[in-house]
Symmetry: C2
Subunit: 240 residues, 2 copies
């Protein structure tokens, strides 16, 4: 159990500043394992709007999200679309055990990834119970988030949905959030269309509800994307 992780120098250089080494799955690895994995890893950037993985298609790699926001979505045959999850750093991207993805993954904003060959992770999973544990816990977290969102989708009004969305983004993006209320500000990583896909609404309804929140002085919006929430608790009151 002694991982000798006192000396930073034992970690590969590219991992040193990486959040995934602390809160992400790489935290489950020994310096040795991490070193081996880092040799197979490749960091790169994907521009907003580009696809990372396609629904119902095998994917040859996993990845850690290092920065930016990834949207996971599903489509009905007639094209209706629903975003079923958002991933932020240092979330793990990809589906262990099966070849086929059940969702498609797209870069909502510009996204930095650290990609691994599927085989590298799969063999690590087989040998490291810690890693499997970490992945299991991320899956449980995603399940919790999915179920929370089901309540939003099934039971909340459009106004409550938009407020819930802004709160979700604020708590995941704004580094200065301390949970005790206060204020927040950030750039929306999603277009109005993406927000609508996430909330099960239309673009127009999202736009109208944002306008309502703005004219009620709950939020300020500049340049279409930059949002200021002076009093988070006033937003929470509108979340249902």
């Amino acid at each position: 159990m002694d991982r000798k992780d006192i000396h930073n120098s034992e970690y590969p250089k590219i991992c040193e500043a990486c959040e995934a080494r602390h809160r992400g799955i790489c935290g489950a690895l020994t310096p040795d394992e991490l070193t081996k994995l880092s040799r197979a890893a490749r960091q790169h950037t994907v521009q907003a709007g580009h696809e990372l993985m396609a629904e119902s298609e095998p994917s040859g790699s996993y990845a850690n999200v290092m920065s930016g926001v990834v949207k996971l979505s599903k489509m009905l045959i007639d094209g209706r679309q629903q975003i079923v999850g958002l991933q932020f750093a240092p979330d793990f991207l990809g589906r262990p055990f099966v070849d086929e993805n059940r969702v498609s993954a797209d870069a909502a904003s510009d996204v930095e990834l650290c990609r691994f060959p599927k085989a590298a992770i799969d063999s690590l999973i087989a040998s490291s119970a810690d890693l499997e544990r970490r992945l299991h816990q991320q899956t449980l977290k995603e399940l919790d988030e999915a179920r929370d969102w089901m309540v939003t989708l099934g039971r909340k009004t459009a106004a409550e949905k938009v407020a819930s969305f802004l709160y979700l983004i604020a708590t995941h993006i704004d580094p200065s959030i301390d949970d005790s209320g206060g204020s927040a500000q950030f750039d929306l990583p999603l277009t109005r269309a993406d927000i609508a896909y996430f909330l099960g609404l239309t673009i127009e309804t999202v736009s109208r509800q944002l306008t309502r929140l703005r004219t009620s002085d709950i939020i300020q919006i500049t340049h279409n994307r930059h949002v200021v929430i002076p009093v988070l608790n006033r937003l929470r009151d509108r979340m249902g």
Copy 2:
């Protein structure tokens, strides 16, 4: 890896007929482990409508669902309710790693459970990678189901939601389903109110949509609960 599972006699008697030994989590255990666990296990029945575990409360036990249907639900502070999952035999019930439940669990129909003390499972998880793997996979399955349902909640019409619900129940309950279309019949394990909570609709809308499916000869309903679906593919066509 040799689990010596050729001779049935090596398994505890109460486990012999249990589905969880094959498709459920107990399939990950050696006969020895299973024997120890079975000593701590207690089978019992919970009547429809009774609560199994409360939201936001610690639960001292886990359980396998042996028969019947369990509904997992969440509530908003003002009482609005959403069912976020249904569990059938031989699903595992309970949340590893944390004390607090994130959902409440209620018996939708009469439910037979096989309960285990939390500590018994937790220590098995620590020592058996197979068990953790099995739990991880059940979690992944639940995540897939949750995301599928998010599409239904966010994007489908009331008519499509009800059709999707009937199809879900048919494929999970009717033992004669062979996936290749054909027909199905079963007793609905949920009341109209439960169906509404599951679909993000009102009771009245559910009732009206069931009537529409009935008058369109897609389904037959007798005694309010017994459903016959002569041609499953005709139902699928209405699922969106």
